[in-house]
Symmetry: C2
Subunit: 149 residues, 2 copies
């Protein structure tokens, strides 16, 4: 398995793109972040240490990561793009807590196989899939839940 840094530099070379200090700074920060941050959240984190880097650059660079396979773009229906490191991470799906926003990961090989079966019976070629379970995580439903309003 290639390292993310290598993979990114290879991608830049292949596409005749340039290796800039901003890109390396963002990559290094990205690899250290907790997963499933939105562009905005990540940008705010990054800005604490690197106030000079603009939002547009962060956005463009995260998209580069997705293109070259380092990152996966996620969308949990809150209207924000989220990213997580994908290189070196097993495929997984998500449990999204609608109360506290926590995102848990799971992997179920039986479900994956059944998806393939479903696709076959419809003569459909799967390129990608998304499976998310929305609800209350353990912490949010064991505690008393005073309505937010």
């Amino acid at each position: 398995m290639k390292k993310p840094e290598e993979q990114f530099l290879d991608y830049l070379a292949r596409k005749r793109l340039k290796n800039t200090s901003q890109r390396m700074t963002i990559l290094s920060a990205f690899l250290r972040q907790k997963a499933h941050l939105s562009t905005e959240e990540f940008y705010l984190q990054l800005r604490k240490e690197h106030p000079g880097i603009g939002y547009a650059t962060v956005h463009r660079t995260l998209k580069l990561f997705a293109e070259c396979g380092i990152a996966s773009e996620r969308n949990f229906g809150d209207g924000q793009m989220r990213f997580e490191v994908s290189l070196g991470n097993e495929h997984h799906d998500h449990l999204v807590c609608t109360s506290c926003g926590q995102i848990l990961e799971f992997e179920n090989q039986q479900i994956e196989q059944l998806q393939i079966d479903v696709a076959r019976t419809h003569n459909f070629i799967i390129e990608d899939h998304r499976l998310e379970l929305y609800g209350l995580c353990s912490a949010c439903h064991t505690t008393e839940q005073p309505p937010v309003s």
Copy 2:
């Protein structure tokens, strides 16, 4: 099973909302449309027969349908909200063709059960879920696929 019209009128009554001609027109058109139309697509259809109804009213009314259980809101990652009639339709998940945009429906009881198992092992209470398989439908991969570029 209550009829959609009844259910909507009940909901309006319960919430002290008013029964207007626009709402009834939109409901009747919605029940006749093919599924998975975006607000915009639906509005453009509706406008052919009812040019007087504004986009905002259509939008607000579709949200009412979702609130009262007549409609499901869907989001297939193209940045548009889509709606389909849910009352009287079995739960189903979707196959989304990334080439022609066609949306097929499927239902797999084993997958549904495995989702429940996954949630249980994480002590997670499912409120909702989404499962979509993205790829090429039968028509799009049997034909020669000249690259779009």
